[in-house]
């Protein structure tokens, strides 16, 4: 960019005496604008309580103060779907995990490395979080770029998906300056919740919990009670973020490695969690369900020692009465799923 005068200098800008050149002045102006906008986004994050970091502190279920020997890996579906305190009581030992909202095997694999002493590992999976098109917001902070590149190459992912996945990394760099970048939904819903707080209305969960992680969540909401417009809005939001589902990409490779590593360390229990009937009917095609099952079959063959508990096949959970949103089990659903898991664990103990 030269300092040559424009053929039509704008009105009001004097060009005669400048202590700094126009170019330097513009650079300073842009720098100041970036600083101001950055300060604004940090303020917004603080005011709206937007989560900008994850996976830094472990979470412990049950047990005393001694070291835990059981690890748990999963997304919010796993934490909400099972009463882990009850499982810890059943096992008589503490369960430890590093929760990350919206996470998937790609992140769990990295977090699992922090827990080499685990002698037993629970891994919660579902059609929702194994979907390759759904990307964790914190992926770039947890999974090294080299690992992602290697997985993209090995899985033969197409260019569009690869671009989308790799874009997480520059976005993570941008977030150091602007922590709201790529988090527009949370900003919009944060404003809405603030407004509701101000006028004294209660918050609802239409949209906000997408990246929420609440092991102690106690909702007794049922999506069966939702009005139709709310259901349609949630399906539209979900459709917009999840893309075209696929199940044989980097997440699949990461889960395979995670299973193999956990199997080498000790006992592995994979819990397949359900998603709600409207989610299945509206957002997942039968062909995609077959692909999901094929990916689980492939994993079973790769890690034959792992035990599988199909909570998603408990017939009574196939109802809108047991979900508080499109993918998360509510309290009643959690009770049924926990009972299912505990009886499966009891069966495993008996067979040993």
């Amino acid at each position: 960019v030269s300092n040559a005068p424009s053929s039509d200098p704008p009105r009001g800008r004097t060009r005669s005496v400048h202590l700094v050149s126009d170019r330097a002045r513009l650079t300073l102006l842009m720098g100041a604008a970036v600083l101001l906008a950055s300060a604004g986004t940090y303020l917004l994050v603080a005011v709206l309580g937007i989560q900008t970091a994850a996976g830094s502190s472990p979470r412990r279920f049950g047990g005393g103060d001694g070291p835990a020997s059981v690890a748990l890996a999963g997304s919010s579906l796993t934490y909400d779907g099972v009463s882990w305190s009850e499982v810890a009581s059943f096992l008589g030992t503490a369960i430890e995990s590093w929760p990350v909202p919206g996470s998937s095997p790609a992140e769990w694999e990295q977090l699992q490395r922090r827990f080499p002493q685990a002698r037993m590992t629970f891994i919660g999976v579902s059609l929702y979080d194994l979907n390759e098109a759904w990307l964790c917001d914190f992926r770039a902070n947890i999974v090294p770029l080299g690992r992602t590149l290697a997985d993209l190459r090995e899985s033969g992912s197409d260019l569009t998906f690869a671009r989308r996945l790799l874009n997480c990394y520059p976005r993570a760099w941008v977030r150091r300056v602007f922590p709201t970048a790529g988090r527009a939904d949370r900003v919009i819903f944060g404003f809405r919740d603030k407004a509701r707080d101000l006028i004294g209305e209660g918050r609802d969960l239409d949209g906000t919990p997408r990246l929420r992680l609440a092991a102690d969540y106690t909702s007794e909401d049922r999506i069966g009670d939702w009005p139709r417009d709310r259901m349609l809005r949630r399906l539209a939001s979900m459709r917009a973020v999840q893309g075209v589902p696929g199940f044989f990409g980097p997440k699949h490779l990461a889960l395979r490695r995670l299973l193999q590593q956990a199997s080498r360390q000790g006992v592995v229990v994979v819990i397949v969690l359900p998603v709600s009937p409207p989610y299945l009917e509206s957002l997942i095609a039968p062909r995609e369900i077959r692909q999901f099952e094929a990916s689980l079959d492939e994993l079973r063959k790769r890690a034959p020692a792992a035990r599988w508990v199909r909570v998603d096949r408990i017939p009574s959970l196939d109802s809108t009465d047991y979900f508080y949103d499109l993918v998360h089990l509510n309290m009643e659903g959690r009770r049924i799923a926990s009972d299912g898991l505990l009886s499966a664990l009891a069966g495993m103990s008996a067979s040993r």
Partner: protein, 487 residues
């Protein structure tokens, strides 16, 4: 690679650095040409050959036109260009549509067409680069401009990356002299361009992409919703398509300006139009002026030569000529936008509205009460509302997935169906309010990108910081493709 991607920002940074280091025009143009082809090849390698082929044919035709004196010989050369451009456009864009309709007609006649299958990939931007290149040969044919002397400059004119995928359809008279001149980028150019790019990014990422999900939801099954929700969906689409396409145009113009190239505005607050004619002076200006100069005016001239100066069913000959020419022009304008009956109907709706408006301008009352201020005010408001009704109603045809879907959508609104789901979109309602308030409250002919750089430093700082803040706080994460890429 789209304007809102990280790849583009990196690519553009390299291009900007490169051209700022280039002292010579020759090197700068080679660099821009290489960058433009790299940009297009990132979309499709084979289609890059198509851009090259079109450019070479039209460059050679331009040279031959300049060397040829005979009228019929010049016409023949012009035909070569038109057949090449329109032939390619027709093949890639309309083969599927024609074969589907022919297949339907044959099936009606009892012919089995189940084995017919045409899978033709539509090269991105083909409607734009063929029109751009064709305007050059038409201008050379009319002797409005001299033919381009340099093949490199002509290749750059057609493939100039900010305008390649979805316009604006810059004319040769506008862009070729800037390519030929060793223009230097000034600080004001850069600042104006950057601001316009930022405004475009706000429109695209913070508005168009945010409302897209709920608009898609409503249009995907109009039978499920009540009339109020369907109206909301139509207004939402009006907002989406405006912010998507004018946002794209702003980014294209801003990108070009940051490199020292000036391009005319493509949108000028279209929803503040006082009437439908005014709307088309404000919406996709580069295309509407293209159709006006290269289709409507020649058609009107041709019709007027063939139609005797007498009355046509009560219409004056000049009015009949206007109406015939405008209907043909907008039929083709609809077809240009998409190979489908919904687009054709959309074009005909606008053509009819323009013809009716022409009639109204001729026959509107001008005496008595019509001269009062109250009448003029009422007529002005009615005109704006009628314009918005036609435009938004037209968008339903434009967006609908099929004719039957459009019929169902419009039918439910016309019958004011109260059965069905009512959806109050938290995206569409605030976005529509913001866009229509901006149209109401700001200058209809203003240009923020040109005005802000002349404001005092604190005001400029506030502008840039606000733009950046809005983009990073409200911008969609995975931007949807630009709507006009499909054309």
């Amino acid at each position: 690679m789209t304007f809102t991607s990280f790849e583009f920002l990196a690519f553009f940074g390299i291009v900007l650095a490169g051209i700022s280091l280039c002292a010579s025009r020759t090197v700068r143009n080679w660099l821009l040409l290489a960058a433009s082809y790299a940009f297009y090849l990132s979309w499709s390698v084979p289609c890059g050959l198509l851009v090259f082929a079109v450019s070479v044919v039209d460059y050679l035709v331009g040279r031959r036109l300049a060397q040829t004196e005979g009228h019929s010989a010049r016409k023949r050369w012009l035909r070569v260009s038109l057949i090449t451009n329109l032939g390619l456009l027709g093949f890639f864009k309309y083969t599927g549509f024609v074969s589907a309709n022919a297949g339907w007609a044959l099936r009606m006649a009892g012919v089995d067409t189940s084995g017919w299958r045409f899978d033709i990939i539509l090269p991105v931007g083909i409607s734009f680069f063929t029109f751009k290149s064709m305007s050059y040969t038409l201008d050379v044919y009319r002797r409005s401009i001299q033919p381009c002397a340099s093949l490199r400059d002509y290749l750059l004119f057609v493939s100039f990356f900010p305008q390649l995928l979805a316009g604006p359809i810059a004319r040769a008279t506008e862009l070729l002299p800037q390519i030929a001149r060793a223009a230097r980028v000034t600080v004001v150019d850069f600042e104006t361009g950057l601001l316009q790019f930022g405004l475009g990014a706000v429109k695209k990422l913070a508005i168009a992409d945010q409302v897209a999900g709920h608009v898609d939801l409503i249009f995907s099954s109009p039978g499920q919703y009540d009339a109020l929700t369907l109206v909301q969906g139509a207004i939402g689409y009006a907002v989406q398509i405006y912010c998507d396409f004018s946002g794209y145009s702003d980014m294209a113009i801003g990108t070009a300006r940051m490199m020292g190239f000036r391009t005319a505005e493509n949108f000028q607050m279209p929803y503040s139009a006082t009437d439908i004619t005014d709307f088309w002076r404000r919406w996709h200006i580069s295309l509407s002026s293209w159709f006006r100069d290269y289709l409507f005016l020649p058609l009107a001239y041709a019709f007027s030569r063939r139609m005797p100066a007498e009355s046509y069913g009560g219409l004056r000959a000049d009015v009949a000529v206007y109406m015939a020419a405008i209907l043909v022009t907008f039929f083709l304008c609809g077809l240009w936008h998409g190979a489908g009956w919904t687009f054709i109907l959309w074009g005909l709706l606008h053509g009819t509205a323009l013809a009716v408006h022409r009639g109204w301008r001729l026959w509107r009352p001008r005496k008595g009460a019509a001269r009062t201020r109250a009448f003029r005010l009422g007529a002005g408001i009615a005109s704006r509302l009628a314009t918005l009704t036609v435009v938004i109603g037209g968008w339903i045809l434009f967006r609908a997935e099929s004719l039957s879907s459009a019929g169902e959508y419009l039918g439910r609104i016309a019958a004011w169906e109260t059965t069905g789901t009512r959806l109050a979109s938290p995206y569409i309602i605030p976005a529509s309010a913001a866009v229509f308030m901006a149209h109401l409250l700001t200058s209809r002919n203003g240009n923020w990108a040109a005005e802000v750089p002349s404001q005092p430093m604190p005001a400029r700082l506030l502008w840039y910081a606000s733009l950046l803040f809005v983009i990073v706080s409200f911008g969609a994460t995975d931007g949807a493709p630009f709507i006009y890429f499909q054309f």
